[in-house]
Symmetry: D2
């Protein structure tokens, strides 16, 4: 490979560049070119320096960005792939801990994993790159179209619900008819991850709410209606969801004040999935009564990060199912198409953004 | 039953009385008299009003205290018990939620359970009382002696480790040899529950630390030595346990500042059991970086309250095993014997107290 | 309700009748009329006496048949249903064991449950009947059409895969990439349950085989092709699936000889779900080497019967997903429509039958 | 190492030799000498050729026997061990499957593990040998004495109960009080493994039966009495345990006829652990009614072989607890001491044998 166009940063906080870079020595039996790459809060956080954990690959003074992508196989030495196949590359690459050794680097026990475009590995926002077949999942459902680029953010949601299932084995979580009928899920946030969480929450059968502290744009309201999800403006109506307690709380904001405000509205045996991160969120105060609330109700708060190959596969199944069920409403998740070099996208979030993607 | 001597309070915060009371209409096919009753922070909290959740039984303007006890059967209409049998009565009595219906009122889904001596049921600190055989567990190991009074506090520990086991099924928690060798547990607090947690933590094979913000008395230091547990004075040596991160954090303090200080020293996949409650603990501030720490490491914080009949049975097995293994050192858990009417015990904690008991 | 037309038998082995019957005293706040009822091996077994466990409701000398149905609400006193709603009634009704009390009569601990149309409760093959709202699940997806009648047989498949998931927690079942890629499932039988198992097996990602000892009709071959499932004629090619061992074996035949023949072709950590029953199957011999094979490979054989309300809900989700994915191929599961009174259907299985249904 | 005395065989079925052998190239940072080695049915089976799976290490025409041992450290280059430490070496050594990689070669997914003294690795019945520290567990409880030699057979029992716990998560296995009170365990066989299973079964709280088809010697009857275990002579009283069904069936015989006879006496949700192997057991017939019985009651049959390091550690804890609880009765598990060269022991089982050991 020669020089290729790439988004890169001097991570973290090094701003954003788009130029040709030279990357040497990357292995892989498949040559890939991105069709679409999505951008998310992590990309913007690396660019603006609010995510302290990002770092450059060894020997490089920069980090190629990009962990959400839908790619096309350009050339393959692997029997598993052929030129023209659509694939999604895995973000996290294993170390040697017990979890990594069984294909679960998302649960890495010692932190010695790496993430493409984030921690020590170049990402996918570049003209082309090589990778190994075992790091790629094929998009078999052609009807998915551009929505395949949501595989990466969706895989986080699938893993988080796995965590929910494991944690909920500590008691009888379901009702006395064995179902989740009558159970309520609240998702904090109204970004792309929040909408993806709301979709899986509906599949599970939760009465589902998504929440923000301000009103949302019409496109998001339409999406809520299509997905049978309720929007709550916490500023306008602090008590809207107070009628019955929350059985499943999912946070995509990383904001401790909001999290603990709603922890205090959880039900007995409630489970909170902490997914969002925001190192610049304002501090919040919690008291003995907050701890008491969690203890007396057997509440669980579970951090959940990233996901494994199995969750990518299930994410593709989810997306196929949602595409068939919701059709154009799901396509509405992609709110803007951009071109390589459109660097402003990394600095400013477009109005009404759910997912902005760059077409390569 | 006529009038009997009892400790009671006008819960919560009604101070403490010892006098004869008349309780009518309690059912039960076994008549019991307490041999020993233990007192704990919950009793003192009810008396001084720091536990807002306590309430009187319907139709009563007072609450008989006492949930930790070792009793003797005075009279039995049940084929399962004979006069002279030693038994421990269960504290929590079920409602009609799915967890209560399978004998797990400790995991009550709707809060409609009751607790003897705490929430809506009279407790065991009285001359005699009736109960049903299915609410009693027999102390079969005569060699346990007075230590049988620790069954109730120990059952909480057994349940908490069940929670730990269920929650830890979300990943490979053990090391690559399948064991807990090299894993570290930190228990916040140095009271009776903390020591009981430390004993089970050692049985599991954790390198075990208990922690307080001040030095501990010699009897507690001796106990640490006997149980192969390390004491950490967090005030004197804030960094003593910093060498390697904490895999299992157990809090018996209810203090949010201490909890989150040590959450930040947890390992990847760390599990924190929140057990202690203290509504009067000082507020603490947590920030986005705290949430980020929990998310990025897949950390779980799990409230755990009370326990079920199965945990009383396992607690008795634990105590028998510990008695055989530690002998007199375990007896040292009971640091003081008191007599009925000794009301000062509810207002002031004796120096060096691990467990104070009242002999009836 | 007055007299209504019904299929009934003097169970077990009492042949089949279709005539008006009078059923008194049945409760229920919803009046239902079947649109379609499916028939299966259990119905035929009751009629011909090969299922010894069927029995009449108390006070009746006959049993109304029918446990697979798609019904319409005629009249509702429940706020949950309105006239015209399509619903599927649950087959199994709980006793008072711990599993029944949490809505899992499928896992009844003591056998004191009942099954409509099978054990002590009248079934759904009659002009109309009453039932309670908590025994009904609504078919919300109108596009399902007649396929809704497959909810009942599909719910068995959903429960069996739940058993598979629980049992497989005894080891790392997935491959070292965390997925089921490369894992093989063999389903014994080619009836409706076998095809439904094959569909969920494909959803999980197993390379999937269904097997019979004779060739299958063209409609079934086409269905295999549509579902990406491989058919194996065990008589013609005893070794076809021998290339790599079986990771998941599902039996719908109840035939011990066939089961143990394929148990011996299972992989390490293989899981066999035993679902089919056939009391008239020929006896088979097993030896010490068969037991040895199971022991040395940590193989699990798990009986799985019936399912709970949650599995009916998930079955409806499965059917909706399959309908969207496979379209007309799924409709092909219904191979024949019959009319009430067509009693020959209970005595003789039509050629090429997957699912025969009666339109009411 | 020079030549050392060893028991060996030309496995399988090569009879038994005791002579000096030369083993070259074995690695290990600890030099060990056995104090005691136990013999079991596997050793005898290798010697008499009834276990077809045994094979010699590569490059050898013989196999040194012995997998049950209690050893002393002669020399250590490991910081974890010192001269004089008592240790038990692990039997099974991992391959590279996902289970092996996380320290669970007992659950090996592909069969590429090895077992000392059985499959491809020399065993411990020799004057001295080297091993690596991570393959050794220390016997920390000096009071265990010779009973430490039971660690290896006990670790199988601990793993089997882990399987029981995982499998039983498929339903509510416990009673409506959350306990195992009133549950019955039947263990087929009266050898050393059967007695060890009975001890753990009692610890769990099962009413426990062990069974054989003939009467047992007085020493075994005394042991049953000491352990609170009931003996059943199936020949004399085929119906002794028929009063209530079996909730947990454990087989140590490998005999299919006996296994399925008692499977038919199992309760709803019963779990059978298949542990014993006997390739020469007589064949048995099973019918459709046997399969039906398993299906309709959600019965699980789970093969369980070997165990991992964690089970060795827990086995040592079990043995320490049992030693403290049962004292001399536990010592009675060793029914005979033999000397190296006493080859008849491998050909004939001494009368009343529970565990025969060779003192080195």
């Amino acid at each position: 490979m020669g020089e290729i166009g790439a988004y890169y940063t001097d991570a973290p906080g090094g701003g954003i560049n788009f130029n040709t870079v030279k990357i040497s020595g990357e292995g892989g039996n498949v040559l890939l070119k991105p069709l679409l790459t999505g951008i998310c809060g992590t990309d913007r956080g690396i660019v603006n320096g609010s995510l302290s954990f990002a770092y450059n690959p060894p020997g490089y003074s920069f980090l190629v960005l990009g962990h959400e992508s839908l790619c096309e196989v350009v050339e393959s030495d692997s029997p598993q792939f052929r030129k023209g196949d659509r694939v999604v590359p895995l973000v996290r690459r294993p170390g040697e801990c017990p979890n990594c050794l069984i294909g679960r680097p998302d649960n890495c026990s010692d932190g010695n994993k790496h993430e493409a475009g984030i921690t020590g590995l170049h990402g996918f926002m570049r003209g082309e790159f090589r990778d190994f077949d075992h790091n790629l999942v094929r998009v078999q459902d052609n009807s998915l179209g551009d929505i395949g680029v949501l595989t990466e953010p969706t895989k986080n949601v699938v893993k988080a619900f796995e965590v929910f299932e494991r944690v909920s084995s500590r008691f009888v979580y379901n009702n006395s008819l064995s179902t989740l009928e009558g159970k309520k899920a609240l998702i904090i946030g109204t970004g792309s991850e929040a909408f993806l969480y709301s979709l899986l929450s509906r599949d599970y059968g939760f009465e589902t709410y998504i929440l923000n502290r301000h009103d949302i744009e019409q496109n998001k309201k339409d999406m809520c209606a299509a997905f049978d999800v309720n929007f709550v403006n916490s500023a306008a109506d602090r008590d809207l969801i107070n009628g019955s307690p929350i059985d499943l709380l999912i946070d995509t904001s990383g904001d401790p004040g909001t999290i603990f405000h709603y922890v205090r509205k959880m039900n007995y045996n409630g489970i909170a999935i902490l997914f969002g991160t925001n190192e610049r969120a304002p501090v919040a105060t919690i008291g003995g009564d907050d701890i008491d609330y969690v203890v007396e109700r057997n509440i669980t708060l579970a951090g959940s990060v990233d996901a494994a190959r199995i969750h990518y596969l299930k994410a593709l199944d989810c997306l196929s199912g949602w595409k068939r069920k919701y059709g154009k409403a799901l396509d509405g998740m992609i709110t803007g198409y951009y071109t390589p070099g459109d660097m402003d996208l990394f600095m400013h979030k477009p109005a009404g953004e759910i997912k902005s993607v760059i077409r390569w």
